[in-house]
């Protein structure tokens, strides 16, 4: 009887909260186009429907100059001529097609520093896709890895505001069609390794369109699968391609998104790859330099009906505060986003129905995705950048739309309820990066839009408390990527990867609700456990890894 009363009170409170968020209260996020950011994602759509046109582009939130302010880096597509002739030239020397780095100033405005940073002209033969951020040489400055159809580029951050293209020396050009990438330390040797997803075996000379008279982009099954790439960091500025030796190359797919976490608690970072139009891959880290793909047997590969997913973006974080990382994969309409709940014991179950995510995603196509605590209540909320892959989908199915709204769904005890995303407009949204852009303790987002300007969604903030941590590895990699951090019963896995083609703020953000202090536990990749008790809320905290266990 008491339990029933509590249940009623809970539902009443939840209804009130929803009401405040959806009708009476202002939206959590608001559109804010910061002064100084002038960027258009040039995807250059053509009538020939080259598949690359609909797939860019990434965005990264990083503090490249260590001034404490998040800067933003956008990956651009390139110019596509119709038809494309060999040698392929995407005219990346033209400033319209440059990737762009915008440095944040103290007053919240941004300055375009692309050219002075040495990031102009990404190579005429490269049509840009995504970006990864990580300090691969542990020098304290985040480096950039830009993926492309063509060759990928590793930019070493020189620490003086400039970058140097070190791709050739590092040996990480990959080739083919790379999409998302991420830095992580799979062998816990303190040096960040690099994983790159590749989409398919495709080139402009072997392109085709589909859909008969409708002329649409083709589904991935029309082209051969390809391998993803794993680079091992040797620690001397070079990487070794260990794709074959590690077992990664044994599984060909249509890789788009990638995210990292230790799903089985063995202290080793595992890899989840969102594959388009097929089963998803979960690469279990065997701890000996090899991986085993275990998607099917763990229940993380297919939806609840055994169906394949058109996996695009992916996030690998714990949405229900049970301490285990879960997976959310964004997909095309007529599927629903995959919500693979980590049950423990190495098993996942699709909880799309129970979490309400299925209901929110039946007619939308999702790309960039994040589990972030936007309202600082201690539960991670879901944000998805949406927009169909086909720019003429309405002609084929009028009930679907190319331009779609952003999705912000607030987490109420593992049930996600859609609320006003802060912008009523519809977009062909793609990459999304999350971070606290204005350092107010509330998570913001940046979304890229095909053929248009990016959307900055700034959190209006509120009364709840928060804690944001920067990890400073000593024995582990310098940014502590791969660490498992628990704060007042919440867990985050330190990573900049995830979402789609994008890189997030490396800082770990926790909403604390009404709590004014927190107990923090960090399990470093080195295996060191670190406890911090009664940490004051509402601060940016650097946590340094103890030199000794």
């Amino acid at each position: 009887m008491i339990g029933e009363s509590l249940k009623i009170i809970f539902h009443f409170a939840r209804a009130l909260a929803l009401l405040a968020l959806t009708s009476g209260g202002a939206a959590l996020l608001e559109v804010n186009s910061p002064r100084g950011v002038d960027f258009t994602l040039q995807n250059s759509p053509t009538s020939l429907k080259y598949l690359i046109e609909t797939m860019p582009g990434g965005v990264a939130l990083l503090d490249y100059n260590n001034d404490g302010l998040l800067d933003v880096f956008f990956v651009n597509g390139g110019r596509i001529s119709s038809p494309m002739r060999l040698p392929e030239n995407f005219q990346r020397h033209d400033p319209r097609y440059w990737n762009r780095l915008f440095r944040q100033n103290r007053d919240g405005t941004f300055t375009d520093v692309t050219e002075q940073a040495g990031l102009a002209n990404a190579g005429d033969a490269n049509y840009g896709m995504g970006v990864a951020v990580g300090d691969y040489d542990n020098d304290g400055f985040p480096d950039l890895y830009v993926t492309s159809y063509g060759k990928n580029v590793l930019y070493h951050n020189n620490g003086d505001g400039t970058f140097t293209d070190v791709t050739a020396k590092a040996g990480v050009a990959a080739g083919g069609w790379s999409v998302s990438a991420g830095f992580f330390d799979y062998d816990n040797d303190g040096k960040l390794d690099l994983f790159v997803t590749r989409y398919m075996e495709w080139d402009t000379q072997h392109s085709k369109d589909c859909g008969g008279n409708f002329h649409t982009y083709c589904p991935p099954g029309e082209f051969p699968r390809t391998t993803n790439v794993l680079y091992h960091n040797r620690g001397d500025g070079t990487f070794e391609d260990v794709s074959v030796r590690s077992g990664i190359a044994a599984k060909k797919g249509h890789g788009l998104g990638v995210a990292f976490a230790d799903y089985d608690g063995d202290g080793l970072t595992d890899i989840y790859v969102a594959n388009d139009g097929m089963q998803q891959y979960l690469f279990h880290n065997n701890g000996n330099g090899t991986f085993t793909e275990v998607g099917l047997e763990t229940g993380a590969a297919l939806n609840t009906d055994g169906g394949p997913l058109s996996g695009m973006g992916v996030v690998f974080q714990d949405y229900d505060n049970d301490g285990r990382p879960d997976v959310i994969v964004t997909t095309l309409p007529r599927q629903t986003y995959g919500v693979f709940h980590n049950e423990g014991g190495g098993l996942f179950t699709d909880r799309g129905l129970q979490t309400g995510v299925s209901m929110l995603s039946g007619v939308t196509a999702g790309w960039g995705v994040g589990l972030e605590d936007f309202d600082n209540d201690g539960q991670k909320d879901l944000f998805v950048a949406q927009g169909h892959v086909l720019d003429n989908v309405e002609k084929i199915d009028p009930s679907l739309h190319y331009l779609e709204p952003l999705l912000l769904a607030i987490n109420h005890s593992s049930r996600f309820d859609s609320v006003d995303p802060g912008n009523p407009e519809r977009f062909a949204a793609r990459g999304t990066a999350f971070g606290d852009i204005n350092n107010d303790g509330w998570i913001d987002a940046v979304v890229t839009v095909l053929g248009s300007h990016p959307q900055f969604l700034i959190n209006r903030g509120g009364q709840s408390h928060w804690l944001t941590m920067t990890l400073r590895g000593t024995r582990s990699n310098r940014d502590g990527l791969g660490a498992r951090v628990q704060v007042n019963g919440q867990t985050r896995f330190a990573t900049t990867a995830g979402s789609y083609e994008s890189a997030n703020d490396k800082r770990l953000h926790f909403g604390l609700g009404s709590a004014k202090s927190a107990n923090v536990e960090v399990v470093w990749p080195s295996g060191i456990h670190q406890l911090l008790n009664d940490v004051s809320a509402d601060q940016f905290l650097e946590v340094r890894e103890p030199e000794h266990p």
Partner: protein, 375 residues
């Protein structure tokens, strides 16, 4: 274009299914009073036909008919030889002449009916096909001449004899569709503002996936006649397809209030509840759907899912096993094996889980890739 299609279809019918019954047997049609010279040519023609040398057969039959100008069977055979060469135009004259000589020569009626139909003269073909009691071809000719109500029973009768004939199935489907369209056109012309007219328009919009328009028409129909069976059900499906599950739930619920014995409404209500994660309610309503119409695979699958989410693993297993007892192959069976694998894995029954996964994978391989993914 249409004539070419019919020509192909008729040709196929001639070859595949009807040939043996239509064509003359080499010996049976022989007249007894032929001259010896005509008989020689007659036999040569038959030999050529047997060797599939139809050009030679035509020449020989021409000689027969020139030597025996009153020999109806000779002309019919000449027509048949032309038809075997797919030369329907040339076949017409000798077949018509055969019937002038002997109006009761049934094979000539059959052949002429086919030849005319293949040439696009469906109306002219009909009396000959009627005389020959050739119901399949007659049905096709009637579809082509918009005699839809007459065509359907003829095609159905032909299908009784050849149940999976693709041409007959195609024309039956086409006739039914056209007849349906005729009725709807009449409805819209006669009573454009009636509830049924709005319902008909809504159904058309639904097929075209123009959901806002479909919704509007269904709502107008419901405003006019809220107690019309199936209107809520259909409107609910509009909401389902656009992922508006609470709205769908409401409509299916209303349909079930109107028609408490409607198993489909119960199933769809359960499905809508399931999509919202209302496992317990879904479980209960899907049990009701199963009682209303037992042994429905879709209901059993959804019931298993609802029971599983509701924590009743025994009921889930029971439903899924019941499904597999009636549907062993195909997509739904594959899904069910997958669901059972998940259930057994959760119960630490790894051997059974493995077995179900193997079955799932076996069936998935046999399901065409296009059926598994959608873009």
């Amino acid at each position: 274009m249409i004539a070419a299609q019919i020509c192909r279809r008729v040709g196929r019918i001639l070859f595949v299914s009807a040939a043996a019954s239509i064509f003359f047997h080499p010996q049976s049609g022989k007249a007894q009073s032929l001259s010896s010279e005509a008989t020689q040519h007659w036999n040569a023609a038959h030999q050529a036909e047997a060797a599939r040398q139809f050009d030679i057969a035509v020449k020989e039959y021409i000689k027969v008919t020139s030597l025996e100008p009153a020999f109806a069977t000779g002309f019919a055979s000449l027509g048949q030889a032309y038809m075997e060469q797919r030369d329907f135009t040339s076949a017409l004259a000798p077949l018509k002449h055969a019937l002038e000589l002997d109006s009761n020569l049934m094979p000539a009626h059959q052949l002429l009916g086919y030849a005319l139909l293949a040439q696009g003269y469906a109306a002219e073909a009909i009396p000959h096909l009627e005389r020959a009691h050739e119901q399949g071809a007659l049905g096709i000719a009637q579809v082509e001449t918009s005699q839809l109500a007459e065509a359907i029973p003829n095609l159905q009768a032909a299908l009784q004899k050849r149940p999976n004939d693709p041409d007959l199935l195609y024309y039956l489907g086409r006739a039914s569709g056209l007849l349906s369209k005729q009725s709807i056109d009449t409805l819209l012309a006669a009573a454009p503002n009636s509830a049924r007219a709005h319902q008909a328009l809504a159904e058309n919009y639904f097929v075209l996936r123009q959901m806002p328009e479909a919704e509007k028409e269904y709502k107008q129909a419901l405003d006019m006649r809220p107690d019309t069976p199936n209107l809520h059900l259909e409107l609910g499906q509009v909401f389902s397809l656009t992922s508006r599950w609470p709205d769908a739930e409401q409509q299916f619920h209303q349909e079930l209030q109107l028609q408490p014995g409607n198993a489909e409404a119960a199933y769809r209500l359960g499905d809508a509840l399931l999509h919202q994660g209302k496992a317990h309610e879904a479980h209960s309503i899907l049990e009701r759907a199963d009682k209303l119409q037992p042994q429905m695979p879709e209901t059993l699958y959804a019931l298993g899912k609802a029971a599983s989410l509701d924590g009743d693993e025994a009921a889930a297993e029971k439903s899924w096993l019941a499904l597999l007892s009636i549907e062993r192959e195909g997509e739904l069976a594959a899904q069910t094996h997958f669901a059972l694998a998940g259930l057994y894995r959760k119960q630490n029954k790894s051997e059974q889980a493995q077995r179900e996964m193997s079955e799932f994978q076996r069936l998935r391989i046999s399901v065409p890739a296009g059926a598994q993914t959608a873009q």
